[in-house]
């Protein structure tokens, strides 16, 4: 009886082995790299820097393995993104260039734009600000991906603010006015996006319009911000505006403003006008 069923058993075993082999090869390093990268971002979002670094390091290892075994534009993109997070800027630039040399296929627009952004960041960090400014402007004007616009808007704002810093008078005013126009355009495109309100608040602060900066920061806080770090920075902006308005406003206006401020403070469960819940006391 045993000998009669041997071929069937052998065949069944063969199927299982074939299937297992095919499936285990599908658990690719690209999938692993994406998994670890996403986990790293999640942890970084809640300020768990040490753990997120550990995940980015694993993502880089997996991306390197994928690049060695099955090189593709996405594999290089992932490698570049992990390198950016680990501040390996020269390597990141090389990875993004490699990603472009492989070329992105149809349906990979998100990866193409993210690689362009990544290339911009690596160029920016190595001092080529004008080249990367062009990249950010291109992405801001052309991208249909909200995430790409968020990323590019932050980088664009930082460069423009840096350009405005040493300038005086009209020249400075023009740079800031142009930046404000871009920030307003982004906000109008997506009024419910807290991050764009945050950007606007930061620009108003440079223009020294603290009332508007305060209002935009409050809007940003109410609508929600992508990371704990941005949320804390926005809270600091609210506190800074509160201080400046105390100096600027007439006693009557200050009394009115402060009564509003205290209401917000209560809503946010702050212990005092300058102590958000996350601040050490």
């Amino acid at each position: 009886m045993n000998s009669r069923f041997r071929p069937a058993k052998t065949a069944a075993l063969l199927y299982i082995l074939i299937c297992f082999f095919l499936l285990s090869s599908c658990v690719s390093h690209l999938r692993e790299a994406k998994f670890y990268y996403t986990q790293g971002e999640k942890l970084s979002r809640v300020y768990k820097e040490e753990k997120s670094l550990a995940y980015f390091k694993r993502a880089l290892i997996e991306a390197k393995l994928e690049v060695a075994k099955h090189p593709s534009a996405q594999a290089y993109m992932l490698k570049g993104m992990a390198e950016l997070n680990l501040e390996l800027l020269v390597e990141a630039e090389e990875s993004f260039l490699q990603a472009f040399s492989y070329g992105f296929e149809k349906g990979e627009d998100w990866a193409k734009q993210l690689s362009l952004y990544g290339l911009g960041v690596s160029l920016q960090e190595t001092g080529l600000e004008d080249s990367c400014l062009k990249i950010y402007v291109y992405l801001l004007n052309r991208s249909n991906f909200k995430q790409v616009c968020l990323l590019a808007s932050q980088r664009y704002s930082d460069i423009m603010l840096k350009k405005a810093l040493p300038k005086k008078g009209k020249e400075r005013g023009k740079i800031l006015a142009d930046l404000l126009k871009t920030a307003e355009k982004l906000t109008n495109k997506d009024l419910s996006c807290g991050f764009y309100h945050y950007i606007q608040s930061q620009v108003y602060s440079h223009i020294e319009d603290y009332r508007k900066s305060f209002e935009e920061a409050v809007m940003a806080k109410e609508l929600g911000l992508p990371t704990e770090k941005i949320l804390r920075d926005n809270d600091n902006q609210i506190i800074f505006c509160h201080r400046k308005l105390k100096e600027e406003l007439s006693p009557k206006d200050w009394e009115y403003f402060n009564s509003l401020y205290l209401k917000w403070m209560e809503k946010w469960n702050w212990e005092g006008p300058e102590t958000p819940s996350w601040k050490k006391r």
Binding site: C19, F20, L30, M81, G107
Partner: protein, 193 residues
Amino acid sequence: MKKSPAETILSSAVELLSEFLPNKSYLYFPLLSSSLSWAIKRTKEWKENIFSWEVWPDPGIVEVKSEEFIYSFFKNNSALDKAYRDEIKRRDFSTLRQAFSRLYPVIGLEDPFLSAFFHQELKTGEFRKIVKEFDAKVSQAREDVETIQAKTRLLEGLKTFADEMVSIGSDLFSRKDVQKAVKELVKKNNQEK
């Protein structure tokens, strides 16, 4: 559904082999053909799923702050006001901005990683030491963080295996040629008994 080139070749090979093999053993081939076709299709699906998985980083903070913001940061912290009294008095924004870029994440944003790392300096008020050693120390600390261990592939592989066996089962038993082959095999087995 349109067959992929590999599936077409496989079907032809099975057809050809069935002509030569004795004792109805060709009845196993629809099963073999279907399971391999399934595996090929499944591999393609997996690959597409992995490639269409979008991953996004988060944006950072706007790092370029106004001089007034920097001034306020130093002036409203008594320890910093004391440590940078001269620079604040002279409104030396070249020095203050440089110090701000290092101290703001630690003191202003209370980054838990950096705060823990510079705990001693913060306790003793050695802010200039933090500024001076920030890049080298932080870079070293980042390097020292150990890579997360990879997931246990065996357990993950077994789970995947179980899931895929369910998938292959439901896929194969919905195919007419396989159903026919199984029916023939059972019939043949009963006759031999």
